[in-house]
């Protein structure tokens, strides 16, 4: 995403003009835009007018509309963001107060305004929002380490795209493969069919051009990780090799970027294991994703080894911060960005003040994990918030019991 104009005032209100230039930027926009913000973007609106004679005519007009955001709808599969709200500016075709849904588009600027109301009803550009903005703006365009992972087991494959900030499950291939039995070759036949379908699906999802002629234009191929328990992934690689040398020579370009790794199962649950394997670490070593996965693993390790020096859950973490245990010298607050997406202003303020306190007052570290990654999903299972503590604290049973 490119930052076109930045006019954030000291008190936190102000506007920012951004230009999304890749699909993942829609996800950033989804995290930045919140209900009650003002969004200005170009729109196409169908205008129906009635003539004096009673006949109606409708036309589509290009407009620049400013809306007060009511709700957001994000489709991760196709990276589309729809923002709906009430129109704020008067145009020749629309009235103030009419509803409109803006579809943000790639390479079209949009302007986002966050305001702080007179009596504090808005949150403005708080520290989290500013940080998210920083994350979203990718100056050099160099952080784009993307990979495709195929997590598979006999008769089941998940094809997913791993981006900087989100993992998108593109397609699932499921097929019944007959088991081995006395003197039957059904199993081998079934596996072959399974490999064939998986390869076809993978190529379709990658938009991979299999014709030989395209080999001349040296488009880079993203790394493809094949992961499975046992020998399924290795078998799939062998299948791709044999296809490349017989029927589909165009596939040869794909071969060098294939990496076979081990995973415990064919479900997305085991994606973290895939990303921790040495072969993949080399490739994606310093991506945000790898760091987040490592952080979650560190946290779970700590929880196992020294139970009292790590905690999770909203109340528990808040009480730990209260006691000053998430401070200088190793205190890390881990939060899922899902919490900041909350519709409730008070809720968001609660988390932002917690983050500010840890970072500015206590001197601890704050990491915000993307809930659309596997590590974020693990964190969401723990209530979306966790903390590594500097000293062990004993929790009161009573405190947590109230919640039930």
């Amino acid at each position: 995403m490119r930052l076109i104009k930045n006019k954030i005032e000291h008190n936190g209100s102000g506007t920012v003009t951004l230009c999304p230039d890749e699909p993942e930027d829609m996800w950033h926009a989804y995290n930045l835009i919140r209900p009650s913000d003002v969004l200005r973007a170009s729109a196409i609106r169908r205008i129906t007018s009635t003539q004096e004679t009673g006949s109606t005519s409708s036309a589509r007009v290009h407009l620049t509309l400013e809306i007060r955001v009511k709700s957001l709808d994000f489709d991760p599969q196709s990276s589309q963001l729809h923002v709906s709200g009430q129109i704020m500016n008067e145009t020749a075709h629309t009235k103030i107060g009419q509803f409109h849904t803006l579809d943000l588009e790639l390479n079209r600027n949009f302007t986002l305004e966050k305001e702080i109301g007179a009596n504090g009803e808005g949150v403005g550009w708080d520290s989290i929002a500013v940080e998210m903005l920083k994350d979203a703006v990718d100056e050099g365009g160099k952080r784009r380490a993307e990979a495709i992972a195929v997590v598979m087991q006999e008769g089941l494959a998940h094809i997913c795209f791993i981006g900087q900030f989100q993992t998108i499950m593109k397609q699932k291939v499921e097929m019944s493969v007959p088991r081995k039995r006395q003197g039957g070759s059904d199993h081998d036949k079934g596996m072959n069919k399974f490999y064939r379908v998986t390869l076809e699906t993978l190529l379709r999802q990658m938009d991979f051009n299999t014709s030989i002629t395209s080999a001349s234009n040296n488009e880079s191929v993203r790394p493809v990780l094949l992961a499975s328990p046992g020998f399924v992934a290795a078998g799939f690689q062998k299948y791709i090799q044999s296809e490349a040398s017989t029927t589909m020579p165009g596939l040869k370009r794909l071969l060098p970027s294939i990496v076979v790794v081990h995973s415990a199962s064919g479900y997305l649950n085991s994606l973290s294991e895939v990303l921790q394997s040495p072969a993949v670490k080399n490739m994606l070593s310093d991506t945000k994703y790898a760091r987040e996965t490592r952080l979650m693993d560190d946290f779970l390790d700590q929880l196992r080894k020294e139970t009292n020096k790590a905690t999770y859950g909203p109340r528990e973490v808040e009480s730990a911060v209260e006691q000053g245990a998430v401070g200088r010298g190793g205190g890390i607050l881990i939060m899922s960005n899902r919490l900041f997406r909350s519709q409730d202003v008070a809720e968001r303020k609660r988390w932002v003040s917690l983050v500010d306190r840890v970072r500015d007052v206590e001197g601890g570290e704050v990491r915000i994990l993307s809930s659309d990654h596997e590590s974020g999903r693990r964190l969401d299972g723990l209530g979306g918030i966790a903390a590594l503590l500097t000293f062990p604290i004993i929790e009161d049973d009573l405190d947590s019991e109230e919640e039930t």
């Binding site: 007959p178 081995k180 929880l303 139970t307 019991e401």
Partner: protein, 461 residues
């Protein structure tokens, strides 16, 4: 159509009407009807004079010699003819794996033979004078534990194979020897026979045997096996000593106990829930041949069935008709709980059948659920986390969403409500949520695994 009908019988209007009416009833799908014999299956079962039958699963660390030991057992019992065996031996030697010849009896898959590793479970049967045995040979490699769980769910008792050679026993103990033993115990297996294999590699050293016996038996008793239900046999799968015949080796003369086959025969007959509603977990879906385009196999967990019965498969909720039944590869009119059956089906599309689905009756269907509470024994640290739920062939991704309480091991009374983390060896009550609806009902034994290790096993409540 019309002209043809008019030409055949122009005078009879009634026939014409029938013909037109018949058109409406036509359908592209060919409905198969099979006449039920309406047997009282339980009566038939009681009348039939069958030998007592027993299913056992063979478990142990990878390369302990499970498949070879069972291949030897089958060969010596005459369940495999000499010609086939010679063929395997020749082929195995051709690819330089001569010692794997016996394992090929069970390892039928091409991948399994090429790599010399069992991947999926294999079932085979043999008979002694008074018992019909079904062997379930389980893979030992850690990646294939899900298949091993499927095998263990079909078993009445277990044979634990241990590699006695130096270094191998120790590494096995750290590996799948322990995991497998814990798994079969938590899946309800009471009796375990420990075959201390490859004794020829340690010259039938008695001290080695006692050392292994002590270590394993102390481990098994802590795992919950009763001492009377554990037995140890020193043997050699490759040579066949103490399997069906007593070892002729002079070094082995110190062992005077039972051979493996004698020990197997001491097993008590097992009772199954015959009068409960029908439940059968599908182990495999395949094409049985030209006559039987869709067949399923598995073990009946509860209830009974016969030819012509209408069955319901869950979670798809599709009905099917049983065209014919095979019990242990022999045609039969009926089958009851505890038997391994192949059902040839009609009137169902194969897309509705997956291994892990459950067969039941429309009158008493199994519920499909997305969340359940279970009382589990933790093998590893438990916290809210992503897990795989296993029950027989069924395995689905899920997550532990809530830790209700940690419980007292003996009384089951809650010790601590909402624990932050549950340490290994503790009993706890947890809530598990799954992404998709799955046929499960209480009481059922489930296994939770995460990242390739078993983290907990327990009972659905």
């Amino acid at each position: 159509m019309k002209s043809k009908a008019a030409a055949s019988k122009p005078g009879e209007k009634k026939a014409q009407g029938d013909l037109a009416g018949g058109m409406n009833n036509l359908s592209v799908e060919e409905k198969v009807t099979v006449k039920s014999k309406n047997l009282n299956v339980l009566d038939e079962y009681n009348k039939s004079k069958r030998k007592k039958s027993a299913n056992f699963v063979v478990i142990g660390h990878v390369d302990a010699g499970k498949s070879t030991l069972m291949g030897r057992l089958l060969a010596d019992q005459g369940a495999i003819d000499q010609r086939t065996l010679d063929k395997y031996r020749k082929e195995a030697e051709k690819i330089g794996k001569g010692s794997f010849a016996l394992a090929w009896v069970l390892d039928q898959g091409s991948e399994e033979r090429a790599r010399g590793v069992t991947i999926d479970i294999a079932t085979n049967k043999f008979e002694t004078d008074n018992t019909a045995f079904t062997i379930v040979d389980a893979p030992g490699h850690r990646d294939f534990v899900p298949n091993m769980i499927a095998g263990a769910s079909q078993a009445d008792f277990a044979v634990l194979v241990i590699d006695s050679s130096i270094g191998k026993f120790e590494s096995g103990l750290k590996g799948q020897t322990k995991e497998h033993a814990l798994l079969v115990r938590s899946m309800g297996v009471q009796k375990i026979i420990v075959a201390v294999n490859k004794m020829d590699a340690v010259q039938w050293d008695k001290e080695r045997f006692t050392e292994i016996e002590q270590q394993i038996s102390s481990f098994l008793t802590t795992a919950g096996f009763q001492e009377t239900n554990i037995s140890f046999i020193p043997c050699s799968g490759v040579l066949g000593d103490n399997i069906t015949r007593r070892s002729a080796e002079a070094n082995a003369s110190w062992y005077t106990g039972r051979t493996l086959i004698e020990e197997l025969e001491t097993s008590e007959p097992y009772t199954h829930a015959l009068d409960k509603p029908l439940r059968m977990t599908i182990g495999d879906v395949f094409r049985g041949g030209v006559q039987n385009p869709i067949s399923i196999s598995g073990r009946i967990d509860a209830g009974s069935l016969q030819i012509g019965d209408q069955i319901l498969t869950m979670p798809s909720g599709e009905k099917a008709l049983i065209r014919s039944v095979e019990v242990d590869s022999e045609p039969s009119d009926w089958a009851v709980a505890g038997q391994n059956v192949t059902l040839n089906l009609a009137n169902i599309d194969p897309v509705h059948l997956r291994s892990g689905d459950v067969v039941c009756r429309a009158s008493a269907p199994i519920p499909t659920i997305t969340t359940f509470t279970a009382k589990v024994l933790a093998f590893e640290h438990l916290m809210p986390m992503l897990v795989d739920v296993h029950r027989g062939r069924l395995h689905v991704p899920a997550r532990i969403s809530k830790m209700v309480a940690s419980l007292d091991k003996a009384s089951g009374a809650p010790l601590k409500k909402r624990p932050k983390i549950v340490s290994p060896g503790t009993v706890a009550r947890v809530v598990v949520e799954m992404d998709q609806a799955v046929p499960l009902e209480a009481p059922t034994r489930i296994v939770l695994r995460s990242g390739g290790t078993t983290v907990a096993a327990g009972l659905l409540e």
